[in-house]
Amino acid sequence: MYNENLITEENIEMINENFIEDEQLKIDISETVGDIHVEDPRIIAKNVNVFYGEKIAINNVSIDIGKNEVLAMIGPSGCGKSTFLRCLNRMNDTIESCKVQGEIYLDNKNILEKKTDVVPLRARVGMVFQKPNPFPKSIYDNVAYGPKIHGLAKNKTELDEIVFNSLERAGLLAEVKDRLNSPGTSLSGGQQQRLCIARTIAVSPEVILMDEPCSALDPIATAKVEQLIYELKENFTIVIVTHAMQQAARVSQRTAYFHLGNLVEVGATEKIFTTPQHKLTESYITGRFG
């Protein structure tokens, strides 16, 4: 199957059901509650709308993402959080029926403009996916893939350095340094995911997007990846989509709650999880639906 986060018929049905529910509750979700601005933003999204064909998937979302912060995006399935994440490095371009409107500024340049070159953009805004997806190559070549295509290393020594450094930062070097030439697919699921993170940081991005990076991993592997995310925020801006609310609470500084394509509430993670202002956020966090 294709990306599971796309709007499928099932999801749309769910959205419609939720609409009915919302009408009954008479809750307004078109205005975002909380503080969308931060002091030192790296990414500023303004009035972003996303359509799949005729269907609207993201409705007028505006949010700042600060430097060296981890922003968690939570919300029920089909709420558009993954879709919004994929706007941030234009991965939605690969889906034919998808249209994105609005403005997203990365260091004061609107990346949604037609003339934006997506290749350097995606090098600056890297992405880690839900399912570990190592290439059918050796562990070394998996990490060296990005630096090679972007010409980041002048010679073999520099390339080695980048690869070892990335594996080290992904906390994987100790486990794989004796078998860098064995295929990346021979690793365990958690190791594969950390390999994919190493692959992403090897091109030294400024922002890393993570789309439910732990949903295919067991609890131990999840703990390792979470630890890694916590360490990576020293050097990178991280946006993570997650279904696990504890995970959001553990790794993020700010949390954004999405519902039916709307950004309902955003704020400091502690605040969202202890004193949510919006009724829907509260319902979701207390597990009344999701």
Partner: protein
């Protein structure tokens, strides 16, 4: 006869249905009435058809005199029918498992359908082996497999001049492989690239337009390709060759190979297309997500991931090219040259088989028997190729499922 059995069967169905309906009035049934009816009809019809077939086989092969008792055949069939029908009819009780019995019959029927292919393959194989055996009685197998001279003539009289006969199959196989090689040089890259374009670059509309068009290529009869080779391609190659100062025979391996290549393009492209589409989307996303371009992604990630499948597809295409006959008959010529020069006329195994068996032939001379020996070797080669190819393709599928 079959019509009568069908009629009887239908009436059996209603009889079974009626009885089971009556039983259901008073008692619970294990299976629904329809199953009882169908089982009765199927059981008795099968039994009578079996009787017919057995009778006819015995009559043809073993006991010829049975022919004079033909009128009893109808009678016998009818008896068998009524016998099995009554037997099944009496079985219909409330606990009788008609559904399970019918399920067993269906399973047997399906099994026999699927074993048909195997039986036919074995039959073909055996018949070819026996005929080849006769051939190898006169011509040593070593001479056949490793001889480099092919002129399949046998003296009719002892004192006949100039037709000593030679059965060295090497030139035929080199010709076959030469043409298949040329064909793959054309079909491999073009088919693969068109598959890449269709699966990765083309928009939906373009894909919907081009894909049926390439599939039309697969529907053209090979004879028509043969015309095309003889009338258009061969003269074109010869003229071009003349202008460049190369002498090219009017029938050349190149012409046949080119046209055969065009013929198998859709084959290669549709298999590669499937394989490329089977590469998981998240691999592609992973590559695009760290800023690789589309072509970098295709060359460095998609093709390596799809490679085993693509190779399997190419091997299947090779075995098609080797078995292809019509184009080569028309375009490549018949002279058994041992050469690797694509501008010369060559001949292939399939062409020689055709030539050996066309016209009035006696089926005991080495000349015609040679055809079976050639067929046997060809059969083995394509069998091995197919086996390897399917094995590779299957392995590849497992990897991603």
């Amino acid at each position: 006869m079959f019509f009568i059995i069908a009629l009887l069967g239908v009436s059996g169905y209603f009889a079974g249905l009626r009885k089971s309906l009556i039983i259901r009035e008073k008692n619970t049934l294990h299976s629904t009435p329809i199953y009882h009816g169908v089982l009765l009809a199927v059981n008795s019809s099968l039994a009578s058809i079996l009787t017919l077939v057995v009778w006819l086989i015995i009559e043809k092969n073993i006991f010829y005199e049975l022919k004079f008792f033909r009128e009893y055949l109808y009678f016998l069939t009818f008896i068998v029918f009524s016998f099995t029908a009554t037997l099944t009819y009496n079985k219909i009780k409330h606990e009788f498992k008609a559904r399970d019995n019918l399920e067993k019959i269906i399973k047997l029927f399906l099994l026999s359908c699927s074993s048909l292919a195997i039986l036919v393959t074995i039959g073909i194989f055996l018949s070819v082996i026996f005929e080849s055996q006769k051939f190898f009685n006169t011509i040593p197998i070593i001479d056949f497999l490793f001889g480099t001279h092919w002129s399949p003539q046998m003296p009719i009289r002892e004192d006949q001049v100039g037709s000593s006969g030679a059965f060295g199959a090497v030139p035929l196989f080199t010709g076959t492989f030469l043409i298949a090689f040329i064909a793959m040089c054309i079909a491999g890259p073009i088919g693969l690239m068109s598959a890449i374009y269709l699966s990765e670059y083309a928009t939906k509309n373009v894909r919907n337009f081009i894909k049926p068009l390439t599939e039309i290529l697969a529907g053209i009869p090979t004879v028509v390709y043969g015309f095309f080779a003889v009338i258009v391609v061969a003269p074109f190659i010869r003229n071009t060759g003349e202008q460049l100062g190369i002498s090219i025979a009017s029938e050349s391996a190149l012409a046949a190979g080119l046209v055969m290549g065009i013929m198998i393009i859709p084959f290669v492209s549709s298999i590669s297309d499937d394989v490329i589409n089977a590469v998981p989307r998240n691999l592609k996303d992973g590559s695009l997500g760290i800023g690789a371009t589309k072509s970098e992604t295709i060359i460095k990630v998609i093709i390596p991931a799809a490679l085993p499948g693509i190779i399997g597809g190419l091997l299947l295409a090779v075995s098609r090219a080797i078995g292809e006959t019509m184009i080569v008959v028309m375009a490549a010529g018949m002279s058994a040259n041992l050469t690797a020069n694509p501008f010369e006329a060559v001949t292939t195994v399939t062409v020689q088989i055709v030539i050996l068996l066309v016209g009035d032939q006696e089926f005991d001379s080495p000349k015609t028997l040679a055809a079976f020996a050639l067929g046997l070797v060809l059969f083995f080669i394509t069998l091995i190729l197919n086996y390897i190819a399917l094995h590779i393709v299957r392995k590849y599928r497992e990897q991603y499922e």
